[in-house]
Symmetry: C2
Subunit: 372 residues, 2 copies
DNA sequence: CCCTGTTATGAAAACGGTTTCAAAGTAGTT
DNA sequence: AACTACTTTGAAACCGTTTTCATAACAGGG
């Protein structure tokens, strides 16, 4: 489950690891096996197995007798034996880059909820932006024949490409090489436009942008929205108004500090996520810079948690529920298609875009003097 | 497994669940098995197995030949086969009650780091305060012969008791029935004393307390510290100054609202965790109540994240690193003891207490008029 | 009543490892 | 040379399922 996070031999290329053996010990569990059940029901293991996996094909009286006996003894099938012999893939995994970030924490919670509803184990892999960790997790998952992996932002292409070749994959709010993998994203470009448009309507033209790390396609799309909207409104793009953040709180602090070193402060800031916006807010607060009095601020994500804080952040709202549900649904479809079609239409990949919405809070105001 | 995440048959008492079979498909993986390797090295599977599990007992030349061949072919042992035949327990799990709470998120991150260092898979179980989820997770873990489980606060005794009987268990910052399970806790009682003492030194005697849910032993210990310290200082305990929260942000808001309905406001509030203290801070802010001007505030945990916010919270500091490291170490010891002693000294349980420290921030001030 | 087609079951062969046990080889002692 | 002790290896049994294949039982059609 969650998780799932997770291994039988989770190792690098070599094969080591501490294997623990306590046959003696508290092992009251798993007394019964399928043969025992069969014997007690005066039938064969094959039939018991059928009751487990395909009950309909065994005659009702026998089936009930077996079911009852299993219930009575609290029999639980051994998953190792089962998966060894059936060779089936099973279970899902979710890669996130930073579980401390509430945006990802919410995704984790939502996806693991969906998985649990279906009784599917989910392994959560918090990679902490570390390629080595990604590799260890992926090795583990592939060894354990995971059924599919959902990748969110911040995971290296190496990992994704490797996963793509051996199991089902779905992207959550990010792109990968054109069309290779099904993806569900927010309309980040549109969101970037919405935020920028709104600020321009408020008369701002000196708009700072706090971006994300290279290769974060969601942040890049937001950036494109920002630039295109400026252009559409004949506002010249000024590179010095762009600060590259890392999407964490601290980064917002750094961004504001940077913007304040400019000869002319931006009158508004658009941050590629809420965490950084919140950093700006906090820093501004402590420096007695008024938001929105001195500087207007727009975030991205609309994390519910943040709306509880002192000043309600104006932010582009992502529909996290919809993101999670769609990507989970696509994954389930892929997985069942496998069953039926045996990979015939493997190359048909979905691409779902979920609209964003600007949610007005209290961090934006009209720009009075128009400069630039 | 993380494991995150998580099941071969994760089911309730009945046996259902969607099992997916895609033998055809992208299965380029796992081409080689131990017999194949043996054949190619002109030796027997038994010997290859020995190289995997106990390299020293096979002669160097043969061993190297086999190792090389495995490397060359990218051979990966099948964990299902391996665990089926060895019957060994393997892997760890961590139960947390709310992964959105930064205190637990930090624990998750720390423990999973430690586990990964040792190449041990960790399954993180975010129970969301739901006994049904606990059961599903635990069933899954026991079916999969987990090596041990670490329980943090907020998990039901039913679950813990059931786990205790079938696998190794360690408690992290909580108690369970006296001495039955090894535990590592912060000195919550002492922390409660420290906070209360500090406020009393500042001349406060009207001190509100925001507690946790029933059965949360860590919060109860903090509460005892609060009460005993009042008593030691001859300050009468007043039940109306105690508010039972649920340890979440919103709960702090509710607490402050409640305290303000009292005929006489508390001049200081001690909150059983940072999240609720932060709720108080936020609510106070929006109501123009000054902290520490009107009310002093002490939290508990000292989440690093929160120290970045506008006002630095005064809080009792828990040594999360130490908590995690100790409990992980105890778990590792238990697990290896199993190997050696085959349960001889099963009943020896550790009990480690980690001191707390009061960290002075900016949310406390001297109480000027002394009432009560 | 015989033939055919279907349904219900069991025997036995996988699945890919680990482990026990015996045998063969090596070395050291007398 | 004979005996013992130890090291190395392989054959075969086993772990608990699933799955294939064959058979038995049964129903329906002529």
């Amino acid at each position: 489950m969650p998780g799932v996070l997770l291994t039988a031999s989770i190792l690098p290329t070599t094969i080591t690891g501490i294997e623990i053996d306590f046959n003696k010990g508290k092992g009251l569990v798993g007394q019964y096996n399928i043969t025992e059940i069969a014997r007690l029901c005066e039938t064969s293991p094959a039939t018991v197995s059928r009751v487990l996996n395909n009950p309909d094909i065994v005659a009702a009286p026998l089936r009930n007798r077996i079911k009852l006996k299993m219930e009575e003894l609290g029999y639980r099938p051994n998953p190792f034996a089962s998966r060894l012999s059936s060779q089936s893939r099973w279970g899902l995994a979710l890669f996130v880059f930073d579980i401390l970030n509430p945006f990802f924490a919410l995704i984790v919670r939502r996806i693991s909820h969906l998985a649990m509803e279906q009784h599917i184990p989910l392994t959560v892999c918090d990679t902490e932006n570390n390629e080595e960790k990604e590799r260890i997790y992926l090795d583990y998952l592939l060894d354990n024949k995971v059924g599919g992996i959902i990748f969110s932002e911040g995971i290296s292409s190496t990992t994704i490409e490797r996963a793509r070749l051996s199991t089902e994959t779905v992207l959550l709010d990010r792109h990968f090489q054109e069309g290779l993998i099904s993806e569900v994203t927010s309309d980040n470009y549109q969101g970037g436009c919405q935020a920028t448009d709104y600020l321009i309507q408020l008369n701002h033209c000196n708009i700072g942008f706090i971006g994300g790390p290279d290769g974060w396609t969601s942040a890049e799309d937001r950036y494109r929205g920002y630039r295109d909207t400026l252009e559409r409104n004949d506002i010249p793009f000024r590179p010095e108004l762009v600060y590259q953040g890392d999407l964490r709180f601290e980064s917002g602090i750094g961004a504001l500090e940077y913007f304040l070193t400019l000869p002319e402060w931006p009158s508004a800031i658009f941050s590629a996520n809420d965490q950084m916006a919140f950093g700006v807010l906090t820093k501004a607060n402590s420096m007695k810079i008024s938001i929105p009095g001195d500087i207007s601020l727009v975030g991205f994500d609309d994390i519910p948690l943040y709306s509880l804080y002192t000043t309600k952040l104006t932010a582009v709202q992502q529909n996290i529920e919809a993101l999670c549900e769609s990507s989970f649904k696509i994954m389930m479809t892929k997985i069942s298609q496998e069953q039926d079609l045996e990979g015939m239409n493997r190359e048909v990949n979905d691409r779902i875009v979920i609209p964003t919405k600007l949610k007005i809070g209290e961090t934006c105001g009209k720009c009075l003097q128009r400069t630039g």
